[in-house]
Symmetry: C2
Subunit: 500 residues, 2 copies
């Protein structure tokens, strides 16, 4: 980022206190649907797949469905699925697995009660301190990758934090994957293409494993977006087939905006989301039974007066929790998202995101897509919002740490020592525990008003920009074996030549 | 508010769409403590009350405890309470009742699954659009009352939204209560004084009821703050005795900041909170069995590095949910708060508040104190934050509306009509329902970026200030019978003379 680079971090501890990896929730998921209501949505989705069917735009994918016994209408690519066929096929979806990074310390458990966080995915624009909103470039892409590598709250990369629009389309993925493979040691996900070879080869090289180990250990993820309503395009299908065939995880992501691409009711949008997810999940299992697959929800609504997508809303919160209930109905990991529709990293951006974060955490979302940096309904990656999001995620993690209820922690003795009207600052329990007793903020500023004014009256987004700058300022790429680095460089060079 | 008064509301619907009164939550409360852990806290609190005891600074209150069989040490005002005495006394606390306003449409149900919202209570400072942060005055007090009357999200007044510091202390309550009684038709709460007569008489006059009906129908509330740890001062005790004696509701509010006035552990702070609440609840029932009383929680922690109070934190969220579990253990209504420690109505203010709001809603808080306008850990009432808070509360209310899962809403027919690749804008289900399908924002701006820039690039706090100004601009005091008004005016005039 141009500009404030010169300003060096003066408070080192500020940049990464108590950053933690994935954690498990000890809370029972919140449920907004009764078991009967979950079954109603399940049955309605099966009716949709059986009666209306789904458009599968890939001949390869249609062949898989046909071989399994589905009713395939070649005239319009429509595939109709009998309920027992769907239910039988998805029975082999695994419920939990490990996503393997080139640095094993960055391995990520997916499923069960695990909560994992990712960056915002592929906004076309970017903004930051001294960086007015502008189209993403390779330069700002690399900076966003560095920030997300530096932020411990990003557990893996769910695609590009911002689209490097100045790179030629044909070879863009090579430069971007090369950056992800070398500038981070976290796992990443590829984009759906009819030919997934580049991503698969580069992920395998980066991990330094042979083909057999690569297949045994999920190391690269694919997001398979449906084209709601009820359509999956050829690149998505073929990408899925390539990935599932090699045992790599695929997230089926419906984008079901009630009132636009889905019925105007939240229940109807969930039915459509569920039908699309079931069809995608089924395809992965037809390709390779037991292939890891994730139930991806993205149901919200459009603002009917303006047609704008509305995210982080009450309806979004309901859908995020209901989506978790549906994913658990099928015993598969659940992906949801940290979203908002604000145009600035302001109070609206924060309350819409915090609303989404509580809903997704209460709904036991295993993969938090768009966890870091998303603004403007996903049109912009904001460096300030990234730090704000990271702080909110750190708060959720601290909230989900079980309370210590040991006899000592119950404090009857401490209370007796201090007695009525006293204070606990000097009590022995305080002296024992004060250093780690409470969550420590990175961004939140609790100074008294006068101290805050003295420090420049900086609102949260300004402080977040300072922190982002500090984090990137000290960035060092994680170590990589020179042989591996050379192999990656050579592969990209060769492929660029071929594509030229 | 000086300044933007001239700017008249151009979008009337913006100021009060879908404002709703108190609502019931259909969700089961979230629990972060097991039943055993709740019992551990309960038993530890009983040990504290039995072994350490609590300092009761009012001779009248000590007499009540002594008459009930408590061990009262007159040398240091210490009252020790045997477990069976506490448990026996609080058994008569009612679990649900109606709080009666002078306008019956503003009556508020307290307890059960009801969620009700209040204003921020008694910040010494105030800030707003064109109103730099400054000590509260009678002028800004009246404006804050008007805003809270205009905002449907304020269900009743939990004290003064801002302290009118320029009014003489001796008669300040008379002017303030007069404003609350005449400028709003919502119920309000009084401040604890050794003599509660003024508040009681004015509330009764405003309601226009006789003494018997006033006692039968709770119409005035008292907040009884403990002086943590384990002390209740004379004014609080005597105020409580006066109110409970007349059947008026009392909220027992512990202010247990872990590490300062409470043990450095959250469990210890909850034990102390619980002990103080139990003692206060017990006193209300000794005064009058069946008197309405509320379990008031205010447990958070101090930032040990700076000594600052930290609110809206992960620890606060845990304590807010645990507090609800404890209140339900005793079958009494639960008061919690919407809090934050930000110095500005910015992203931090919003995410800390939204964090608190989710926790308090998931914890089934029956009375949301500080719901509207609180900033700087309660030092400032912010007109902008009031509108931001109201929006977040409106989001929580919409989230808590059960989803329609009727056959029509499940949308199988609508999905069949539209089919793969279509859209739902023109579908008959959309046309039937689009006007009321989704939550409508008052503050959130979902315009595309270019449109937002064209409208002035206003961040949320700026828009919130505009909305606050619009709401106060059109303010009209609710109607009041001239006879009642005269009686109130005369009472205040007479009392001021007496106090002069």
């Amino acid at each position: 980022m141009k500009g404030p680079r010169a300003r060096r971090g003066t408070r080192q501890e500020r940049t990464a206190p108590q950053s933690t990896g994935p954690m498990q929730s000890f809370l029972k998921p919140v449920e907004i649907l009764s078991d009967d209501q979950v079954e109603s949505i399940h049955r309605a989705s099966l009716r949709v797949l059986n009666e209306t069917g789904i458009e599968i735009m890939s001949p390869k994918a249609r062949a898989f469905f046909k071989a399994a016994g589905a009713d395939v209408d070649q005239s319009n690519d429509r595939v109709r699925l009998a309920p027992e066929l769907v239910e039988g096929s998805i029975a082999t979806c695994p419920s939990e697995w490990i996503f393997h990074a080139r640095n094993p310390a960055r391995n990520v458990p997916i499923g069960g009660s695990w909560l994992t966080y990712c960056n915002a995915t592929t906004p076309p624009y970017v903004s930051g301190p001294n960086l007015p909103r502008q189209p993403g470039s390779f330069e700002t892409f690399k900076q966003s990758v560095q920030l997300c590598q530096a932020l411990g709250e990003v557990h893996f990369f769910y695609g590009y934090p911002v689209e490097p629009q100045d790179l030629p389309v044909s070879s863009r993925h090579l430069d971007a994957y090369h950056t992800l493979a070398t500038q981070t040691d976290k796992v990443w996900r590829a984009y759906a293409m009819s030919d997934m070879t580049d991503a698969l080869v580069m992920a395998q090289i980066a991990r330094g494993v042979d083909a057999e180990q690569f297949v045994r250990e999920p190391s690269l993820m694919l997001n398979c977006n449906t084209n709601s309503p009820l359509r999956i395009d050829e690149a998505m299908c073929d990408g899925l087939i390539a990935m599932s065939g090699l045992g790599q995880p695929v997230v089926i992501s419906a984008f079901t905006m009630a009132g636009a691409m889905a019925p105007v009711t939240m229940a109807g949008a969930l039915v459509e989301q569920n039908a699309e997810c079931l069809a995608g999940m089924m395809l992965t299992q037809l390709v390779k039974p037991g292939a890891p697959v994730v139930y991806g929800a993205f149901t919200s609504n459009v603002h009917m007066k303006s047609g704008a997508v509305a995210l982080g809303t009450p309806e979004y919160a309901q859908a995020a929790i209901a989506g978790g209930q549906l994913a658990r109905r099928y015993g598969v990991p659940y992906k949801s998202s940290n979203v908002n529709s604000s145009n600035a990293p302001d109070a609206q951006g924060a309350y819409e995101s915090m609303n989404a974060l509580w809903a997704t955490h209460m709904g036991h979302c295993n993969i938090m897509a768009h966890g870091i940096g998303w603004l403007e309904s996903g049109l912009t990656f904001s460096f300030e919002k990234a730090v704000i999001d990271a702080e909110m995620l750190r708060m959720m993690q601290a909230f989900l740490k079980p309370m210590d209820l040991s006899d000592e922690a119950l404090g009857v003795e401490a209370i007796a020592r201090v007695g009525p009207g006293g204070h606990f600052f000097g009590d022995e329990l305080t002296l024992d525990r004060y250093e780690t007793a409470f969550w420590e903020p990175r961004l939140s500023d609790w100074k008294p008003y006068d101290g805050w004014v003295e420090a420049g009256s900086k609102i949260a987004s300004t402080r977040a920009g300072d922190i982002a700058t500090q984090l990137m300022d000290g960035f060092e790429a994680p170590p990589m074996e020179p042989g591996i680095r050379e192999e990656l460089d050579a592969y990209v060079a060769k492929r660029k030549e071929e594509l030229a």
